[in-house]
């Protein structure tokens, strides 16, 4: 008998949770309002989780991902408001803001990736340090406060909708599809998985692992940038602590989604389902009026439970192999 895939197990769990929440609160959970609010909250977190996943696939981790999001968002906000002050027209200012978000994000990714790939420092250490560095710069720019006063049109990225679907959700879908294609259909994607499985063998098979690693960190930084675009637009301001709670949550989502924390295995669809589970629980519990701290507890329990189930089902599977 074929072993059930991790992603399918996860999807079944998602359906169960969805059904339970629908039964508990049919009029509110199953409403269009709720779906729309979930669809606008989920993307900023989901996109960060996808960025984190690609780094984890190589066996690394990016602890600076949320501070990259904060820093790039703040720089975007800074340059956008500055160019408005200089009397430059709104559309051009928005363009300046968006471009500077991504330029700063890529620079941050280059710093992380450069140190990890070309100097060879452990990713956890590098990103632990750069996390503080990026946060420090953000604090200096904002002096602890928030930057606001964006043009009205800018809020389209976070609050607008196309054909009834919120723009952030569209961005998330596009990112997930492109991410899946890049990872599973391109040579670079394949080398990411190979690198996570066995860096030495990958190097000897003629792949420039330094380049692969560098691009991984740029990719995750770009994801942080997209998330920053959504967050700054949704809150109509930029602040150091926007998104900071997503750091360990995104690691949890990636692992919940079936990605091996040691690298080498993981699928975008798994991460997407995990993000959806987390969003359903937090929105559903919120609607049911359950204390938000109980939501944290439930998330932790689910994370450990899924891993325990994986462990036991894997062991049963290997027992069967042995007895055969």
């Amino acid at each position: 008998m074929k072993k059930r895939s991790k992603e399918l197990t996860l999807f079944i769990i998602f359906v169960c949770i969805f059904i339970i929440l629908s039964i508990l609160s049919p009029d509110r959970f199953l409403s269009i309002d709720n779906f729309q609010s979930m669809a606008s909250q989920l993307p900023e977190f989901g996109i960060i989780a996808i960025g984190m996943m690609v780094v984890i696939l190589t066996g690394g981790i990016d602890l600076s991902i949320t501070s990259i999001a904060a820093l790039s968002g703040i720089s975007g906000a800074y340059f956008m408001t500055k160019s408005l002050e200089l009397g430059i027209s709104e559309p051009v200012s928005i363009l300046v803001g968006v471009i500077s978000i991504f330029v700063v994000a890529v620079i941050c990714g280059l710093i992380n990736g450069g140190i990890v790939a070309y100097i060879g420092v452990a990713p956890m250490l590098v990103t632990l340090g750069t996390m503080a560095v990026f946060e420090g710069i953000s604090l200096n720019v904002t002096k602890g406060g928030a930057i606001s006063g964006f043009p009205d049109a800018y809020s389209w990225f976070g609050n607008g909708s196309l054909m009834g679907i919120p723009v952030p959700m569209l961005l998330f879908i596009v990112v997930a599809i492109i991410g899946a294609i890049i990872l599973e259909r391109t040579p670079w994607g394949v080398s990411v998985y190979m690198l996570g499985n066995n860096p030495l063998a990958t190097m000897y098979s003629g792949i420039n692992i330094k380049k692969v690693q560098l691009r991984v960190y740029i990719f995750s930084a770009l994801m942080a940038g997209i998330s920053a675009l959504i967050m700054t637009s949704r809150y109509n301001s930029a602040k150091v602590d926007y998104g900071s709670s997503y750091l360990l949550q995104s690691v949890a989502a990636v692992v919940l989604g079936g990605t091996d924390i040691a690298g080498g295995y993981g699928k975008v669809i798994g991460t997407v389902i995990a993000v959806a589970i987390i969003q359903c629980i937090s929105s559903g519990f919120n609607l049911l009026g359950i204390n938000r701290y109980l939501t944290d507890i439930t998330m932790g329990v689910i994370l450990l439970l899924v891993l325990a189930i994986n462990f036991f089902s894997q062991r049963r599977h290997s027992f069967k192999l042995v007895s055969r």
Binding site: L128, G144, V301
Partner: protein, 324 residues
């Protein structure tokens, strides 16, 4: 002579040199830095970091990591605070309660890591959100202010002119040093961190060692929680968000290898001192608080990069010797 050379080249030594250089720079800028009063003050305010860094050192040598320590210490300060206010103001009992609570929480981490073979970062992510959730649900984020007077008096004692909390730090350091150097468990920690499979084949009980590693971490966290309460004279459930990264940072600055198998108590002391000196020095040098995080991050990145570059260079020399 050879021994002298290896000491000079060790990671710990290079960190120690950095510590001396930074201290010199700070002293030149502000001589107050070297006053006994300032040094004792600085030590006292980093005792909690130091005690927990000792536990984290053992965890990291074993090849694991514990990101739940911030949540653990917060929860234990709440438990101890409530114990002191509502049950008994006995100081010895408060340490027993703190230590016991730590052993339970650490033991749960240890059981999950050793029995279910879930990667430590994932387990502790899960328990982090569970412990944090339970603690915040129970306290609602409220402070405990009415700590009994005898406990506050205990916290202000200075035997031999040294704040009592500093003795706990040295106690923890000596205990950890002894365990790592002279017990079978301690040697086992290095063995499983260096090469898990070999350690297993030699006959180390890997599961038991892992269980004990996390239990020890919990115990030291419990003691640190009581010490923290004696310094602050109140309990703030939110005082430790992000503290786990500081603890990990201090340990890796002190030369421990995040991949496991390497690290020493004296290196960790240097790491903690480095963190303390940087924090204190930046204040003494009147550097705006917004720059402090930036500089700490920069020093972490530079220190670990410098260390890797130096190691690579010495490895190259080895290779050349081999060829000749």
């Amino acid at each position: 002579m050879i021994r002298m050379k290896t000491i000079w080249k060790s990671k710990e030594m290079s960190m120690f040199l950095i510590l001396i250089i930074i201290s010199l720079i700070i002293t030149l800028k502000n001589p107050v830095f070297l006053s006994v009063e300032n040094i004792l003050d600085m030590l006292k305010s980093n005792v909690v970091l130091g005690i927990m860094a000792m536990g984290m050192l053992v965890v990291i040598i074993s090849g694991g990591i514990d990101v739940s320590v911030g949540a653990m210490i917060a929860a234990i300060t709440v438990i101890v605070g409530n114990f002191l206010v509502h049950i008994s103001n006995n100081i010895l009992l408060s340490f027993l309660v703190g230590g016991f609570a730590g052993i339970i929480m650490g033991g749960i981490n240890g059981l999950l890591v050793s029995m279910l073979e879930i990667p430590p970062i994932v387990v502790t992510l899960g328990t982090m959100s569970i412990i944090n959730g339970i603690m915040l649900y129970y306290t609602n984020g409220n402070w405990i202010n009415d700590i009994p007077n005898n406990f506050i008096n205990f916290g202000t004692k200075t035997p031999l002119g040294i704040p009592i909390q500093i003795y706990f730090f040295f106690g923890a350091a000596i205990l950890t040093w002894f365990i790592l150097k002279y017990t079978l468990f301690g040697r086992g920690v290095y063995a499983i961190g260096g090469n898990l499979l070999s350690a297993q084949r030699i006959g180390y009980n890997v599961k038991r060692i892992k269980l004990l590693v996390y239990t020890l971490m919990g115990f030291l966290t419990g003691i640190a929680a009581v010490v923290h309460t004696s310094i602050m004279k109140q309990v703030d459930p939110n005082a430790f968000t992000g503290f786990e990264l500081q603890v990990i940072g201090a340990v890796v600055l002190g030369g421990a290898n995040v991949a496991g198998g390497m690290g020493s108590v004296w290196g960790t002391i240097v790491g903690v001192l480095l963190m303390a000196v940087i924090n204190n020095g930046l204040i003494l040098m009147h550097i705006p608080t917004f720059w402090q995080r930036f500089i700490i991050g920069l020093i972490i990145v530079l220190a670990v990069s410098f260390d890797v570059i130096q190691r690579k260079r010495s490895e190259k020399q080895f290779v050349r010797v081999d060829v000749e």
